[in-house]
Every structure is written in C-alpha cells, then in structure tokens.
C-alpha cells in the first residue's frame, strides 16, 4: 500500500513502476484542477496533517479488505494548485478489471468526503470561496453500504 500526502507534483508513471506484481488489471484515476469557472486561477487545498495520512490509509485498507487487491495507492496534494495541475491519484491492482475499477471508485468516493482536505477557489483577485461539499458526494458513499 502506498499513501502519500505532499505539496509537490507527482509522476504517475514512476509511481506505477512495479505496481501490483502479477496483476491482470491496473486502474488509475488522476484528479485535475478543473478550469470551468472562468475567473478561477487555482485551488488552494488545506488539510489536517496527521489525520489526513491516517484517514487515507484507513480508506485504502478498507478497499483492500473489500476487494481482492494486489496493491493500492493513493496520493493527494495540498497547497496552491493551478488550473490543469494534478490534485490526486488513486491506483488499484487486481487479477481482473472489475475489482480494480470498483475499488478505484470506492477510493475516490471516500477520499472526496472522508479525507480531511478543504478546497478554496483562488481567482484573479486572490482567495475566493471555500468549495462546498455536495450532497451528491455524500450520497455516493451510501452505494458502498
């Protein structure tokens, strides 16, 4: 299991080198700062050092218990991230793709609502609004009950 919380950029290719030996399927998802709100230049991500690592490890551990994964990885950045920058990545390795896809979706759903990160929009004039959690993100968790 690989869990990382960092400010600096990450390189998916190097993280995936040797990932999930013997796997028949590796699914990766990379979240990127979306540029669709016009004025927005960047996101500022705040997090809770200590709890973030614990929460991400717990979520990755739950995925491993639930599916027969050969390996799992979750990397999440914090700090100022410009439009187009990578925010986070999850990767799952399994013998077959159904498990790898399902586990990656589970990780995404849980990281969104249960890992202690908070996003704020940064516009041309400086810091703007905190991004509000969507009820649909909370609802997405219920499908895993």
């Amino acid at each position: 299991m690989l869990v990382r919380v960092q400010q600096e950029e990450f390189d998916p290719a190097s993280l995936l080198r040797g990932f999930g030996p013997g796997a028949g399927a590796v699914v990766t998802f990379t979240g990127v700062v979306r540029g669709d709100t016009g004025r927005m230049r960047a996101l500022e991500l705040e997090h809770y050092p200590g709890m973030t690592e614990r929460a991400m490890s717990a979520i990755a551990g739950q995925a491993q218990q639930r599916w027969n994964l050969i390996d799992v990885a979750a990397v999440h950045r914090f700090g100022r991230l410009e439009v187009g920058a990578q925010i986070m990545m999850v990767a799952t390795a399994a013998r077959h793709r159904a498990e790898a896809f399902a586990a990656a979706e589970f990780l995404m759903d849980y990281l969104k609502s249960r890992a202690p990160f908070w996003k704020r929009e940064i516009g041309a004039d400086g810091p703007g609004d905190w991004v509000e959690a969507k009820s649909s993100d909370e609802d997405a968790l219920s499908r895993w009950d």
Partner: protein, 83 residues
C-alpha cells in the same frame, strides 16, 4: 484536562486561529462546544450552525456525543472536499 482544539478552512478563519489550548471539564464534544461558544463572538459565530461542522477526536471522525475521556486533540471543520 488540557486539550488542543484545531480549526480548519472557514472555521479557522472565523475563529481567527488554527489552534488553541483549552482547559476544560467537558465530558463530551457537545459540552466542549458549549464552553467554546461562551468564549467570544468569533467562537459563537463559527460554531453557531453545527449541521455545517464536522468533528474529529484524536484524528478520527466523531459525533458530538463522543466522550473526551483521555482525549488530547479535538478538531472542528466543514464537510471535507478532497479528491
């Protein structure tokens, strides 16, 4: 009992500090909130709508009725927006 109380995102801004050390006799998170709200207007404003506030006790998500017995750190923050 001495507790570290942490605030994140807009709660941190409304309180005006990321962290404070409080001396408390509160038995639960809910009792701690009542003590904090009585401190000043900033605390009262930040903690006025608890439906918009999430709590972690020693870095694990918890509810307002969670015991503070043996606890060292309590954090208050808005719903998380990771991913």
């Amino acid at each position: 009992m001495t507790l570290d109380v942490l605030y994140f995102a807009w709660l941190r801004e409304r309180i005006g500090a990321p962290k404070e050390r409080v001396e408390t006799a509160a038995a639960t998170v809910r009792e701690l909130v009542a003590e904090l709200v009585a401190l000043d207007d900033n605390h009262a404003a930040a903690l006025s709508d608890l439906s918009a506030v999430r709590v972690a006790v020693d870095q694990e998500l918890a509810d307002l009725d969670h015991s503070l017995d043996g606890v060292r750190e309590v954090a208050f923050f808005p719903p998380m927006t990771g991913g």
